[in-house]
Symmetry: C2
Subunit: 723 residues, 2 copies
């Protein structure tokens, strides 16, 4: 519960971007390296800074008068100025004192590279907590500990040992790379640079005593030189900030790609033991990525592949790819890969086909995939590729050219320069001319296709993106509902009759029903409701009525209702000796052509998640609910409902009408509002919502509230699991 009750760690995106002191730390004019030396990491980091840091650099080392020819100072207190950043490389247990002195001295912030903190046992954990407290109370930003630093390539600031001082610096470009893990981050950077990415920023956040992935992203995403972000992380700390940043990036049109470890049970076990933080549910994470616009990549290699396409700045306006190949088989394989990546390879408009056909052998195919065959005249390569690129029928072009000849590479370069459509070239061995032309190339055609697929997916996410405002709370409603919830004192769950009243306050249509205390009252209530009714026995011992016989269905007429009431009360009293019966609910019977379910769960990382799925017993068999994090817009709710219909009901030709789908979307919106207003509600399970024509009613609902007897929510959940 901590996540969603805690105040966000930063406010609106503009606030995020100007986090106190962060700018000074990430773009320092002066740097002190505490632990600078002529060997080991102390050497690597100092030498990296020394080679082209444009500001002032001070080694701090009590045992040396100078380091690499630069005058050294014994302690930070001896420095001639309060530097913008102190890089700290001394053993872990000395670090907190030094950090405190830095803060007291007015230094801008600290980059703590030392390991041996929370990951190394109780003593290290305590040292790290001291730093966390200092950072929070003194607005003194700290990066690390247990990280390998950062590189701000735009200011040639290499405060890192991720790059050996002897190797070339990456050419700064539009790519920012952020990795929670230092070691793996260095590996990703190596892969990225080898793969042709222009990395302008590198940052590892390590143990995240203060600055974490989310807060660092908040800074990076606002930098004008950063156009594309690659990220790797295991845990998401500051989830509120994280989601705001992802939304902000969508608004800026800057893709954030992510590889997250710990998505499977094997991975989560490894990640949790490593970061000592909650792995979270991968279903929730996937839903949140979709809702807020984060691009997931399946592996580091795939993320680098995607980065290559994104760093060109070109985007796909649609999903149509023009494929050019010398092999029909390869063309078919790429068409397969295209469909799997969410793209299409549609036949070209006939005039374009005619134009291409005239340039190719009679048995070539101009349809798309364009197959010029092996018998093709190489001189026609340029006009064919150019014709395909210029066709109004394609949004991007993918030539597969095996081992590319120089003339072909030159032709590709010319055509690429003359168009603004994205291109991905599949070649077995990279051609320097293509790299010079800034053209993304891939050694496997399927990878080229998936990279274009990522462009299309990103464009679609930008079009769909919208920020959902947090709805204004309704204090009167909250007070009415809290009275309802409090009436019976602390209980493991709320009686169905009360749950329905609570839901009705949030606009959820519920079954007509009355709580009665006698057979005579039941008969009278049934008479008033009309038609056939259900009787449900209300008791705090029976959260799940149908399992325990606390349910009688389809009764009509005074005799049947009275008889049903008496039978049920007698049976239940016998089956559960000493049971306290709170009353009997007399409820209208509601017809259904479709049953839907809607629920609320609070995720330990992302908080309030509203689910919609099929209802009744189908939910158990089919699963596959669609999840939305509250708040969400009505349009997002409607899309979730449509997804459920498409995925599951569509096949059965038993979908919802437009009007029905609107009403179900309204139910989601209501539950979302409840989730944000009533933080004490741990979970809601409305199942089923029966739908038939214009009759839509929640006929059963369970609400679990925090603060019941210890373990009560678990007991309710266990009961649910056993049904």
């Amino acid at each position: 519960m901590e996540q969603q009750t805690a105040a966000p760690e930063a406010g609106a995106p503009s606030d995020l971007a100007s986090q106190v002191g962060v700018e000074r730390l990430f773009a320092p004019e002066s740097v002190a390296v505490v632990g600078a030396s002529e060997q080991g990491l102390g050497h690597m980091v100092f030498a990296n800074l020394l080679r082209d840091f444009p500001g002032t650099l001070y080694p701090v080392n009590p045992r040396r008068p100078e380091v690499l020819g630069v005058k050294a100072y014994p302690t930070v207190d001896d420095l001639p100025e309060a530097v913008d950043m102190a890089v700290i490389l001394v053993p872990a247990l000395q670090v907190p004192d030094i950090v405190e002195r830095c803060a007291a001295r007015g230094i801008g912030g600290a980059l703590v590279l030392a390991a041996g903190f929370a990951e190394a046992g109780p003593e290290g954990k305590a040292a790290q907590e001291r730093m966390t407290n200092l950072a929070r109370t003194s607005a003194f930003p700290i990066i690390g500990p247990n990280c390998n630093g950062f590189m701000n390539g735009y200011r040639t600031t290499l405060a890192t040992f991720a790059i050996p001082p002897t190797s070339d610096r990456p050419t700064p470009g539009p790519i920012a790379l952020i990795s929670q893990s230092g070691g793996f981050g260095a590996y990703i950077m190596e892969k990225a640079v080898v793969g042709g990415l222009q990395v302008g920023w590198y940052l590892s956040t390590g143990n995240e005593a203060d600055m974490n992935v989310a807060r660092s992203l908040a800074y990076l995403i606002e930098r004008p030189e950063v156009k594309v972000v690659l990220s790797f992380f295991e845990a998401i700390r500051s989830p509120e900030v994280f989601l705001q940043v992802v939304s902000r990036a969508a608004e800026l049109g800057k893709p954030i790609m992510a590889v997250k470890a710990g998505r499977t049970s094997e991975g989560a076990r490894a990640a949790v033991s490593h970061t000592a933080s909650i792995a979270g549910s991968s279903e929730v994470y996937d839903a949140v990525c979709r809702q807020y616009g984060l691009l997931q990549a399946g592996s580091v290699e795939e993320m680098v592949d995607f980065g290559l396409a994104f760093q060109t700045g070109r985007r796909m306006s649609g999903r149509r790819v023009g494929v050019l190949t010398a092999s029909g088989g390869a063309g078919a394989l790429m068409a397969d890969a295209a469909e799997m990546a969410g793209l299409t390879v549609p036949p070209l408009p006939q005039p374009d086909q005619d134009k291409l056909a005239a340039l190719m052998p009679s048995f070539a195919s101009a349809a798309n995939p364009v197959d010029h065959t092996g018998a093709f005249n190489p001189a026609n390569f340029e006009p064919v590729l150019d014709g395909l690129t210029q066709s109004s029928g394609v949004d991007a072009v993918l030539p597969l050219v095996w081992v590319i000849r120089d003339a072909e590479a030159d032709a590709v370069k010319r055509i690429y320069a003359a168009t603004d459509k994205p291109m991905a070239v599949a070649v077995t061995i990279a051609a320097p001319v293509l790299a010079e032309g800034g053209i993304p190339t891939y050694s496997d055609p399927a990878r080229a296709v998936r990279a274009l697929g990522a462009l299309a997916r990103h464009s679609a996410m930008l079009r769909a993106h919208e920020r959902a405002p947090v709805p204004a709370p309704d204090p009167d409603r909250v007070s009415r509902v809290r009275q309802l919830l409090a009436k019976d004192g602390p209980r493991p769950f709320v009686l169905e009759s009360v749950a329905k009243q609570v839901l009705a306050e949030y606009g959820v249509p519920v079954s007509r029903e009355t709580v009665v205390g006698s057979a005579a009252e039941a008969a009278a209530a049934a008479e008033q409701i009309g038609g056939r009714v259900a009787l449900k026995l209300l008791s705090y011992r029976l959260p799940h009525k149908s399992d325990s016989g606390a349910l009688r269905l389809g009764l009509s007429g005074e005799a049947a209702v009275r008889g049903g009431y008496e039978d049920m009360v007698r049976d239940i009293s016998a089956a559960f000796p000493g049971i306290e019966i709170e009353g009997v609910l007399v409820q209208e019977m509601v017809p259904a052509s479709v049953e839907i379910s809607c629920g609320l769960q609070r995720d330990p990382v992302f908080g309030p998640m509203v689910a919609v799925g099929l209802g009744g017993t189908l939910i158990e068999i089919v699963g596959g609910a669609v999840l939305l994090r509250a708040p969400f817009t009505h349009r997002q709710a409607r899309e979730a409902v449509d997804l459920i219909c498409d995925r599951r009901l569509g096949r059965a030709s038993r979908g919802l009408s437009q009007a029905q789908a609107e009403i179900i979307a309204g139910v989601l919106t209501g539950v979302g509002a409840l989730a944000l207003e009533l933080l004490e509600v741990e979970s809601v399970d409305i199942n089923p919502i029966r739908v038939d024509g214009d009759v839509i009613r929640a006929v059963d609902a369970l609400i679990v509230v925090a603060g019941g007897p210890a373990g009560a929510a678990d007991a309710v959940a266990a009961g649910a699991a056993s049904t």
Copy 2:
């Protein structure tokens, strides 16, 4: 229907391996190159053969006395001997005559490299058909046309232009590569060789006038030097041979990997227009791969990755991987990848953990993934990796070593040589020492993990593999059933009452039921059946009774049954004027806790496919039936039933008991026997089979038979689609 009625194109695997003349063609002692020249393809192929073909080589060229210094002959008739193979490079329309002369001359077979046949229009198609007929009638094997030839690396026979004569020949090794597409095949070989595969055989089959992928595989898989096969194809011709070969490869323990184009709708459109053959259903193909043991790869790159692991000859005995890394984050990511690849990364046995922990910093993790952290003493790399490798808790080892140092690479090589466990090393930049040691290396950890996953998957497939004998037909049963089917003459489908009798002959338990012709008979039949009954009106106009009101459920007592009978007959007669009513089925009502469905469809490529899935209306919503090709064993049937239960019912805690699953498996086996005995049955749809305790009954069934009125089966299918 053609596929499953045609006799197999070859018999038992041993016959397949000794296909007449194929050995002579693929391992020739003497070769004539018709169209050998000093430029173009005629030069490339002749030069390739000339450089190291160990047998006798003859250029055939009417316009030159010699080619590249070798005496040339004007025509094949002028050759001094009947060579083992004629390679033919002349224009398409001249080829059939030459092929005929080759066959007449006693030449062993032909490799036709020319294009311009079936892919190029009616004239080319006719030329290709002439070759097909010649090959079949004269036992004269032909490879191609429209291919780029083959390389038998063990006999330095390069009858191909897939490799330029100036480039190095691949080092022959255990890998055979077969590609339907020549151009793409050359690309795959390039990728394979660059990727480190030792390719001993290369073959492209092109238009497959005679030799196709299946028949070529039949030859290759029996070669002792071939240990691993990579394949790429679009269409599967000779599916019977194909499946026998796949089974045979499983028996030999040789993995066949395949990338198939045309698996999606986009890809199928491209493939069908290219090969002019049926793409087939990807669900059926996937099922057949699983059943017979073909390893699918998702892309060419993945197939090469897998090949690298397989060519070592090492196999995984279990699914447990030991991961070694310097980054907890990378370890978690690899554990994720492992789970997705069907592997586990289990904690090591405690004594092994203790041993490793003693060699690493206190905050390292020895559990698995083993994370030695960045603070690790490099001198301990070898003992730590060795300890992990030798642990009884792992079946394979995966070190992730970023940029590997020489000392580390040497250590890996020593440890690899001392174990027989598979290893996959993830390094950003390949180390020559590792390649020398024959150790598979991958530039991305996820790819290394997936390659080990392929080893584990293959071992599991070998363990599960079994050949299902074709059951001996039961002539008496066939004759009884054919009498039943013929009784009413040619009809679009079989009446439910007859379908049940047919199914009962194949051991399918069916509902107790009687066909009656009057209300009085109905009442008497209901009386005899006892309990509540259903009435179903039988008419050839109503294949789907529930849609048309030809169904009354849950009747009991003489009055209700008589009334139901009369109402139904009156209503249907009114709704369908002139309808011929064949009778009314009086059927017991069968309870159900689970409903299952079972069906037979004939796939245009693979023939008789038996499906099992959830029944009732769930089948429409849930989909996801499991498919088996007939014949199959009872164990395979049982596994299919268990899969359905695991996948769908398991979640609902409403699985089948062991005894129930056995009976359902028996239903599958019965339908499989029917599929093989009654080739005129086009489809069977038993839905639902109701299951409750020890009562299991097929309560509805539809059988469609070939030879009904034209379009009848389509009409039945259309009816089904509209329900």
